[in-house]
């Protein structure tokens, strides 16, 4: 007997909780071959193609493209070899329970025990049934039931006191706090000039005379546009006697969070709220490292950046201090033997953190090549989930912007992140008691105190400083 197969929202990486069908490449009734592209799924981090793992026919599509995000494990479509009746498909659909992970396969029945793999992002309280004989729109009633709104507190604004959806929305949201901008200067209408009220107001704000201005509004009236054409360009405003404030001139451009921004916001908020951060600061002389970089680039024929060297030094230091090379999962510390170092990269889509795997095992030229590959990918067609998954430690460098030092937010589940400042020439006391100049870099290590203690972090930084100041150790 051929099988009915459930196609569910795959789970790409530990952080993925939901995905959205960006586009279906197959439609109901289509037959596809193994390796064909079924659909594009968009997650918080990337958009990926999903390839068919077997030959089959599309019987049902349950999640249309471009709709709401579906949780991992949610049923997206039903496939079979085309042999089942619609009734059998319906029965399969009725019995289907999502299973953990990618494809759940059922031979006419649910294969896996019922388990909501990942709770839906918005767990709503159960609907409360509302019995009322007051007039109310169906959508308003649905919302009131979902939100558990007490209808007795709502005065219906519709005809005959009918409660509208907007009434319930207002009840749910509550009144806005009073925020006012106050009065504006009232510019009297003089008979000499024919201008709209706003035109007159703008002219007064800018100290412009409207006498003799030719109006392009109705019946030759001077309109807002006519006055704005006379207003000096904005860089000229602000000089002596210029108006300080212009009503409506500073309205924001509203940019809704895109998927990446949403996930970054969610994860950073969570990290900063949940993780007890503490910060350790150190600086190291970089002169030896800069010399070493020059000759190593020449010898190895690579173009390793200063940051690549810092990643390398961090990786070596992490292996020596495995207490810092950790992830935190619930009540467990996961300690890793090798350093998978995530590097913070500004991509056109926002901050991304591709991972250089087992960086401690790489020679500097290999590491430089890998970091270059990841950065180019991030700035080009985009990183895959594999590129960003995991990581035991992060390095974030703002030195190229001249930032002296800063405190980074830990990228969970990692236990620490290193913030790297600019390499700066600074005076230091020389052994002879005079002053000499050297290039110094300042580092701030943000540490998750649940998993890493102060001494462990400090020892790590000490080793990092040693490796940077005596970089021969990086080739040991």
């Amino acid at each position: 007997m051929s099988r009915i197969r459930a196609f569910t929202m795959p789970k790409w990486g530990i952080e993925m909780t939901e995905g959205t069908i960006a586009e279906w490449m197959v439609h109901e009734g289509d037959t596809f071959k193994r390796g064909d592209t079924l659909c594009l799924i968009e997650t918080a981090k990337i958009t990926n193609e999903v390839e068919a793992e077997y030959d089959a026919t599309v019987r049902r599509i349950l999640a249309p493209s471009g709709a709401e995000a579906e949780p991992v494990g949610a049923l997206l479509a039903i496939f079979d070899e085309g042999a089942h009746s619609d009734a059998e498909i319906d029965a399969f659909l009725a019995e289907f329970r999502p299973a953990e992970g990618g494809l759940a396969i059922g031979a006419g029945r649910a294969a896996a025990p019922a388990e909501p793999a990942v709770p839906s992002a918005e767990a709503r309280p159960a609907r409360t049934k509302i019995e009322t004989n007051r007039p109310i729109s169906p959508e308003a009633l649905r919302l009131a039931e979902e939100e558990g709104v007490d209808l007795s507190g709502i005065e219906g604004s519709g005809r005959g006191g009918r409660i509208t959806h907007q009434d319930v929305v207002r009840a749910v949201r509550g009144p806005a706090p009073l925020a006012t901008k106050g009065l504006a200067a009232l510019v009297a209408d003089d008979g000499a000039v024919f201008a709209s009220p706003l035109a007159r107001r703008i002219a007064a704000l800018h100290g412009l005379s409207l006498a003799g201005v030719k109006g392009t509004g109705a019946r030759g009236r001077i309109s807002k546009a006519d006055v704005l054409a006379l207003v000096p360009p904005s860089d000229a405003i602000g000089g002596i006697g210029a108006p300080a404030f212009m009503a409506g001139a500073n309205r924001p451009e509203i940019v809704p969070f895109d998927r990446i921004r949403k996930v970054v916001a969610q994860r950073l908020t969570q990290a900063k709220q949940d993780i007890p951060h503490f910060y350790l600061r150190i600086s190291a002389s970089a002169d030896a490292l800069l010399d070493m970089r020059k000759s190593a680039n020449l010898v190895l024929g690579c173009k390793a950046s200063l940051n690549d060297w810092i990643v390398k030094a961090s990786a070596v230091a992490l292996v020596r201090h495995p207490d810092v090379n950790v992830q935190v999962h619930g009540n467990e510390i996961h300690r890793f033997p090798h350093a998978d170092i995530a590097i913070a990269v500004a991509s056109p889509k926002g901050l991304v953190t591709p991972v250089i795997r087992q960086a401690d095992r790489m020679r500097i030229d290999q590491l430089a090549a890998e970091s270059r590959r990841l950065i180019e990918k991030a700035q080009g067609k985009g990183l895959s989930m594999d590129d960003m998954e995991g990581g035991t430690f992060s390095v974030s460098n703002l030195g190229m912007f001249g930032i002296e030092n800063f405190d980074a937010i830990i990228n969970p589940p990692q236990g620490a992140i290193l913030a790297v400042g600019a390499a700066q020439r600074q005076p230091v006391e020389s052994p002879s008691g005079g002053a000499t100049f050297e290039t110094r870099i300042s580092f701030t290590l943000s540490v998750d105190h649940r998993a890493i203690d102060g001494a462990a972090g400090a020892q790590f930084l000490q080793t990092l400083k040693f490796l940077i100041e005596q970089p021969e150790g990086l080739f040991a």
Binding site: K181, L183, L186, V187, G191, F194, P197, R201
Partner: protein, 337 residues
């Protein structure tokens, strides 16, 4: 400038225009005021005192006391206008417009269009209107909402003595028929009025009566004073309102309304008429379709309910918009999130 009452501003303007232009004639019920009484002409001076002194100055050929027939008054005004006069007709109560709807709606409003623009019909029909005098359902109505709906008519609703003067002069000199609506409650209002005999206010040019950045209140005629009172009360709490006095509802100064809502994002429309198919809904629709992106809250409408005007004093005051209702509406729109 001179301080005048609204009714005196109207009478003075008619007087000056009759002096200036011999084509201007006045007609209506009891416009002479006292004709046929023991006191003789001018003994009473017209029930609204808006035509006192005209008969003495200009005589029976130019100040015509008509029978109690609104259809005759409006019909005669239309005929006079077609024949080259500049009639200023008065309907004693706007409520009586119903009996002359053919003359007004199907004739005066259409002449210029039906004659291919070869004829004009420069008639002014003045109509005292509005509630608040405990005068019951048949003598208390406003009619701007349905005359505004009639293409071919211009509709004027002055809110101050000065506007009454400038708009009436414009109405008399205008080549199109003008419905000139005077709220009965405003007749006693005093204010500075320009004594320039050429002072005209162009139609379709709203007045900004108060300026603020938080909400836009749109009103016309009698409701402007209420809106100003509401704005002044709100200003004490730091809430600034633009109060737009439309002056004319046809043509409508869309630009003034939209410009203001684009700044404030919140609209309150005040209208003495019941809310269905009214000036209030017209402006709410205008803003919803042309400034939707600027709106931060649903438009609030402060209007009479959909009922006849009640007789009982308490009911009548509950029926009418008031400054307190406008204040509540502004606060309601500010509380939206």
């Amino acid at each position: 400038m001179a301080k005048l009452m609204y009714r005196d501003a109207i009478r003075n303007t008619i007087f000056q225009e009759m002096q200036r232009d011999p084509r201007v004639v006045v007609l209506g019920e009891d416009v002479v005021g006292g004709m046929g009484t023991a006191g003789g002409p001018e003994a009473i001076g017209g029930i609204w005192s808006t035509s006192t002194g005209l008969y003495d100055a200009f005589g029976p050929d130019r100040v015509i006391d008509t029978p109690i027939s609104e259809s005759a008054i409006v019909g005669a005004a239309g005929g006079l206008a077609l024949a080259g006069k500049r009639p200023v007709a008065e309907i004693m109560f706007a409520d009586f417009i119903g009996v002359c709807m053919d003359q007004l709606w199907n004739q005066i409003a259409k002449f210029r269009y039906m004659f291919g623009g070869k004829s004009i019909c420069p008639a002014v029909i003045r109509m005292p209107c509005g509630a608040g005098y405990n005068a019951a359902a048949q003598h208390s109505q406003v009619i701007h909402q349905f005359v505004t709906n009639m293409p071919g008519l211009k509709v004027v609703m002055p809110s101050t003595p000065e506007d009454a003067c400038g708009l009436l002069r414009q109405a008399i000199r205008d080549d199109d028929p003008v419905i000139f609506l005077e709220h009965k409650f405003l007749y006693g209002m005093s204010g500075e009025v320009s004594d320039d005999p050429e002072f005209c206010i162009p139609f379709g040019h709203a007045r900004l009566a108060r300026a603020g950045l938080d909400a836009t209140i749109v009103a016309a005629g009698m409701m402007v004073g209420y809106a100003e009172a509401a704005a002044d009360e709100l200003a004490r709490d730091g809430i600034g309102c633009d109060v737009i006095d439309l002056r004319t509802t046809s043509p409508l100064d869309e630009e003034a309304i939209l410009d203001s809502v684009e700044v404030t994002g919140r609209l309150v429309v005040v209208d003495e008429a019941p809310p269905r198919c009214s000036l209030a809904t017209d402006i709410a629709a205008l803003v919803a379709s042309k400034a939707f992106a600027s709106l931060k809250a649903p438009t609030e409408m402060v209007t009479a309910p959909h009922t006849p005007v009640p007789f009982a004093r308490e009911l009548e005051s509950a029926y009418l918009p008031s400054p307190a209702k406008i204040v509540a509406a502004v606060r309601q729109t500010l509380s939206y999130r």
